[in-house]
């Protein structure tokens, strides 16, 4: 609450909401939607099913990886993660767009005039939830794959790196979805952008084409993550791959904060 000379002061020493209060408020908004738990359960179970299925039948030919099937390839097959990426992006977009379509955003902004703090709290909630989902999918999928593939096929190098990069990937998608949602403010529009960016571009662009296509593909979170899991086809160095993912996440947060802060509503 902002301090005005004539406004009666609230009892107690607190003048402004603590970050925890903002996070709690955003959490209530996020979790009280019936579609949130449904979407999360669907996402996680589909991803685990695909990981188990890849372990039994081999990965999709279009994923581009070759060589013998090992648990890490099966669990972190790029194509099988596309639904999870799109889902995380849509969840992030919904967190923002839902407020605009119901008009709740006006109440939110009136209650907490420091809008940057709202963006940060929202981003924190979305990041925590999608990061948790990524942990379940990554670690669970790898465990399933190890259990199913009995053959002495060693896990590729760096299984922990694969899990950590996945925990970075889904929140990055969600934050990007939030940024699109903030910019577009329209449910269908932001959903289309999220689907096209995370669903279609990885299928269309490969880092095996000409120079332009390779650079464009390598700039996508999908291929950066694929480089880190060892199951994808990104052709950059590991450090650049981490930086690409982190840059997407950071740019998304900055765009969300600036767009919300600079606009009227």
């Amino acid at each position: 609450m902002s301090v005005q000379p004539l406004a009666p002061r609230l009892r107690g020493p607190r003048k402004r909401a603590r970050p925890a209060d903002l996070c709690a408020a955003e959490w209530i908004k996020f979790w009280s939607l019936r579609s949130t738990p449904i979407a999360l359960v669907l996402l996680v179970s589909l991803a685990l099913y695909l990981a188990a299925n890849n372990s039994r039948h081999g990965v999709l030919p279009m994923a581009g990886s070759s060589g013998p099937l090992n648990p890490q390839r099966a669990a972190f097959d790029g194509f099988s993660w596309l639904p999870a990426m799109i889902g995380a992006g849509l969840i992030g977009a919904q967190a923002m767009v839902g407020e605009y379509s119901t008009g709740l955003i006006r109440t939110t902004l009136a209650a907490v005039p420091d809008r940057r703090r709202i963006s940060v709290a929202k981003a924190a909630v979305v990041t925590a939830v999608t990061g948790g989902a990524a942990l379940v999918i990554g670690a669970g999928g790898l465990a399933l794959a190890v259990a199913i593939i009995h053959a002495p096929s060693p896990v590729d190098a760096h299984p922990m790196r694969a899990i950590w990069s996945s925990i970075l990937l889904l929140p990055t998608c969600a934050l990007a979805g939030m940024a699109f949602g903030t910019l577009v403010r329209h449910a269908a529009g932001s959903a289309t952008v999220v689907c096209a960016l995370f669903g279609f571009i990885p299928i269309m662009l490969r880092p095996t084409g000409n120079r332009w296509a390779t650079d464009a593909a390598n700039a996508m979170p999908y291929y950066a993550w694929g480089r880190l899991t060892g199951a994808g086809t990104g052709t950059m160095t590991v450090a650049v791959a981490w930086a690409t993912l982190a840059a997407w996440a950071a740019a998304s947060i900055v765009i969300t904060i600036l767009a919300l802060d600079r606009r009227d509503v």
């Binding site: 990965v59 999709l60 194509f79 329209h186 269908a188 689907c195 669903g199 279609f200 299928i203």
Partner: protein, 266 residues
């Protein structure tokens, strides 16, 4: 319009006019279509531009796969489906659907009018995108491959079928939109069904490889003869089945939409 209206039913033409106003007044509709046409044009040029045919080997190439690239037209179809889903979820999201159904209690007629207007819009969109693809790819392939003009029977057939593809996609989108009613989820489901599911089915990992043959894009590839001869060719339905499929998808979608909307409260 007359101030005194006839009692009883509104004419079907009035419903079509009402649906047309709803669509026309959205700015995003126009943007989506312009983007789709531009995408088709650029993709056709890109596909044709990179082809190098050895002299004398042209007979071994099917020129139709350049203007009517599978991935490009999968994208065009899913854009059209997004548009279809938008037209119905938009009404649910804004609450306009209540007004619509109060004004016209015969909900099937509303759905029929909406489907008709969306189909007409998508036919125009599909026709422009299809012709642009054909002639731009033909231009990019000048001197290498011939047969990319409407004078050729195969090209004419592929152009018409490709123009019909967005119509088909939009009806699927309307059905998914009527089932889910929530814009974000409906669009996510549409892209999942039309873009990701066929790829997953085709890979055989789900264990339903034959179901790939039933997808709309597979029927289109059979009939328009636009299947690429890549390493991972997905199974295609035979010609008769493809004709049935390409008619059954929009009809089934229309029935699903009409049934869902009539059975529910709102």
């Amino acid at each position: 319009m007359n101030t005194h209206m006839r009692a009883g039913h509104v004419r079907f033409g009035d419903l079509v006019a009402a649906e047309w106003i709803k669509i026309r007044s959205l700015r995003s509709t126009f943007g989506l279509m312009v983007f789709g046409v531009l995408f088709a044009a650029v993709a056709a040029w890109w596909q044709g531009h990179h082809v190098r045919v050895a002299p004398g080997a042209a007979a071994a190439f099917n020129p139709l796969i350049y203007p009517y690239d599978q991935l490009t037209w999968a994208f065009i179809t899913v854009l059209a489906a997004t548009f279809g889903a938008l037209t119905i979820t938009g009404e649910y999201a804004s609450g306009l659907i209540r007004t619509t159904f109060v004004a016209v209690p015969a909900r099937r007629r509303v759905i029929l009018a909406k489907s008709l207007v969306v189909a007409l819009c998508m036919a125009v969109f599909g026709l422009i995108a299809s012709l642009a693809s054909l002639y731009i790819a033909g231009y990019a392939l000048t001197g290498q491959l011939s047969g990319l003009s409407l004078g050729q029977g195969a090209a004419l057939r592929a152009a018409i079928l490709s123009a019909a593809l967005p119509v088909l996609g939009s009806q699927i989108g309307i059905a998914i939109g009527a089932l889910i009613r929530h814009p974000l989820s409906a669009i996510g489901a549409t892209w999942g069904v039309l873009l990701l599911l066929p790829t997953m089915l085709a890979s055989g990992t789900i264990g339903l490889g034959t179901a790939t043959e039933g997808m709309p894009l597979s029927a289109w590839m059979t009939l328009a003869r636009t299947a690429s001869t890549g390493a991972h060719q997905s199974p295609l339905p035979p010609s008769t089945a493809a004709w049935i499929l390409i008619l059954a998808w929009p009809l089934a979608s229309l029935i699903v939409t009409a049934t869902t909307v009539t059975r529910r409260d709102v």
